[in-house]
């Protein structure tokens, strides 16, 4: 799915700590469901972030699961996390499960590279880099807006604005909507 360059991303924040690894994003026991089958696919939304210890899920208070018991979609749209988001395995199920749960963007000071690459090449969600760790300032449930044109994150609840880094060399792939769309636009592979 193509993410329009200029379109702002708006929604509620879901705040996490540092080193959120792929086993916490989607525990390995759940990797067995098919991503191609529409019904089975939804299970990834249900279990997204289910490996995060509950007291650290939805900071600062904690105790908030990303998706409620039998739901596969979350009320939250933007994850705000501390350093090294997505470390661990190469499972693309990680960004996929977050997208299925309804997450559109992540704001973190740094990412593990395979997670970052998977998010971009698969066109699942946009991993934005913040200039500093915002996970201690932003609260779960805050209304956020990402202004992609001006590289800003606006916290409407707290009435604060932060600068975020431009996407840099991956911007073309992000805006094409993933590596396949990018390669087609550039004539590397045949148009579908």
């Amino acid at each position: 799915m193509s993410k329009e360059e200029k379109e702002p991303i708006k929604g509620k924040a879901f705040v996490l700590g540092k080193n959120i690894d792929t086993d916490q994003i989607i525990p390995a026991a759940h990797l067995v469901y098919s991503l191609d089958d529409p019904e089975e696919r939804k299970l990834y939304g249900k279990y997204a972030l289910s490996g995060v210890p509950i007291e650290e899920s939805g900071l600062p208070e904690g105790g908030i699961p990303l998706t409620q018991d039998e739901e596969t979609k979350s009320e939250f749209k933007i994850i705000v996390s501390s350093d090294n988001f997505g470390c661990g395995s190469s499972r693309e199920h990680a960004p996929a499960s977050l997208e299925i749960a309804g997450i559109e963007a992540i704001i973190s000071p740094s990412y593990a590279r395979i997670f970052y690459r998977n998010s971009v090449d698969g066109g699942f969600l946009i991993p934005f880099e913040s200039l500093k760790d915002l996970s201690t300032e932003i609260k779960t449930g805050d209304e956020l807006e990402i202004d992609q044109e001006n590289h800003e994150l606006i916290n409407h609840t707290q009435d604060k604005t932060y600068k975020i880094k431009p996407l840099g060399s991956v911007a073309d792939i992000v805006h094409a909507g993933g590596i396949f769309a990018y390669a087609r636009q550039n004539g590397m592979i045949e148009k579908a």
């Binding site: 525990p27 390995a28 991503l35 090294n84 395995s89 190469s90 590279r113 690459r117 090449d121 993933g178």
Partner: protein
């Protein structure tokens, strides 16, 4: 200006004379590996993007090794192997190591070298983060996701951002008798942190590294990802070539770092100064010396995986376990079927390793990833509750080995075995001095 080994391989594979860190290049892929967890979704994307009748770019270069969820009654997991089977048959793939067949191997990162797919100077991608293991053979090897794998299946190419290289130089002439490569890499990860090498290559060099066996080098490069590294790499030498030539007659070309190559940073260690290390729960960089945490009560010991389930790992464990009664449940999982056979044929003071383990009461599993990553609830050795486990695997993030309430200490097979004997974390030097000196 000169290039590092990693830069040179990426230049050679992108038709360039020279590349610099930060540049994005499209490389030609020599080998693509996938397994039962990421293969099916990658195949799904391949069919969706290139069409139901599309053929893979080069069937000689695609290797499929089911290894993760093998000995389970989980219906989804078994269905995933069926997906691989159907794809391999349809595409007529020569290198599919099917479950239940004579060809079945087990853990992909150990199976790849055994089958001759890790060759100096080449580019190998795999849908598994520990694909960096293959860098031990002087090649560029890194983990990718399903979309990237599907892209390679159709085109044989992938974009890569050229990483900066961090160089870890080891002095020393031989490994002290109580030390294993696992201790070296736990020390490095503890020093630089789980994101200390993010986006970068980790090159292991110096006389201390040249003194290591191929299996030891694989343990080092295997855990480059636990420091966030893109790839881990060791320059090829006679030891590398001897191993590779014994496994394949496929041609390859060795590549070396230039003397004037530029490094992001250099880090110096000495084999003789490193002591047995442990990573405490719940992160591989939560370092301590084994001595510092000595006496920590344990419920279980686990020896297995691509990091710590190779034949030399079991030999090391057997040295300590032999003739002892174990205080805690101890699980032994050979990484591959070849290693499982090795447990029967390899002996210590005339006793096969397998017999040493059985007599001590160890539980022996089938070659596969098993509980290294938890897996379905019936997975061999999986942590189900609040167990405290010492393990020769590579990750101890919350819930990694199954239960979110469990705690995992990572250590070398020596330390795991010593701890299995006493039931508490134990510095293996207590035993090694007795047996070796």
């Amino acid at each position: 200006m000169g290039m590092t080994l990693t830069e040179k391989i990426l230049a050679n594979h992108s038709g360039r004379d020279h590349v610099s860190p930060g540049e994005s290049v499209w490389v030609d892929v020599d080998v693509l590996m996938t397994h039962d967890v990421c293969g099916p979704p990658a195949i799904g994307i391949f069919n969706k993007e290139f069409g139901e009748n599309a053929r893979v770019w080069d069937k000689e270069k695609l290797v499929i090794i089911p290894d993760h969820y093998i000995f389970t009654s989980d219906k989804y997991a078994n269905r995933n192997v069926d997906v691989l089977r159907a794809f391999a048959a349809d595409q007529d793939l020569p290198y599919f190591y099917d479950v239940g067949s004579d060809r079945y191997k087990g853990v992909c990162h150990v199976a790849l070298p055994e089958e001759g797919f890790t060759r100096p100077g080449e580019v190998l991608f795999g849908t598994d983060s520990h694909t960096c293991t293959a860098g031990a053979f002087g090649q560029f090897a890194t983990g990718i996701g399903n979309t990237d794998a599907a892209f390679i299946m159709g085109t044989g190419k992938l974009w890569v951002k050229v990483p900066e290289t961090m160089r870890f130089v080891f002095e020393g002439t031989s490994m002290p008798p109580y030390l294993m490569a696992k201790d070296l890499i736990l020390k490095i990860i503890g020093d630089i942190g789980t994101d200390g090498a993010t986006y970068r290559a980790m090159e292991f060099a110096g006389p201390g590294i040249k003194a290591l066996t191929m299996e030891d080098r694989m343990t080092l490069t295997n855990m480059a990802i636990e420091a966030g590294g893109k790839n881990g790499v060791v320059e090829p030498d006679e030891i590398t070539e001897e191993y590779v030539k014994s496994r394949t007659d496929h041609p390859y070309e060795c590549v070396y770092s230039d003397p004037d190559a530029e490094y992001f940073s250099e880090h110096f260690y000495n084999l003789e100064e490193i002591v047995p290390m442990v990573a405490k729960p719940h992160s591989p960089d939560n370092k301590a010396t084994a001595e510092e945490v000595e006496g920590t009560p344990l419920d279980r010991a686990y020896i297995g995986s691509c990091t710590g389930g190779k034949l030399s790992d079991f030999k090391a464990a057997a040295e300590i376990i032999r003739g002892n009664e174990l205080k805690i449940d101890t699980y032994i999982v050979p990484a591959t079927t070849e290693i499982a056979r090795g447990l029967e044929t390899e002996t210590l003071f005339g006793t096969p390793l397998i017999q040493i383990f059985k007599e001590a009461g160890c539980k022996i599993g089938n070659a596969s990833c098993a509980a290294c990553l938890g897996g379905p609830s019936d997975t061999f050795g999986r942590l189900q509750d609040t167990e405290v486990c010492i393990s020769s695997t590579n990750r101890n993030y919350p819930g990694r080995m199954g239960s979110k309430q469990s705690s995992v200490y990572l250590a070398s097979p020596y330390t795991v075995a010593a701890s299995a004997v006493t039931g508490v974390i134990t510095d293996p030097r207590v035993f090694i001095q007795e047996t070796v000196i």
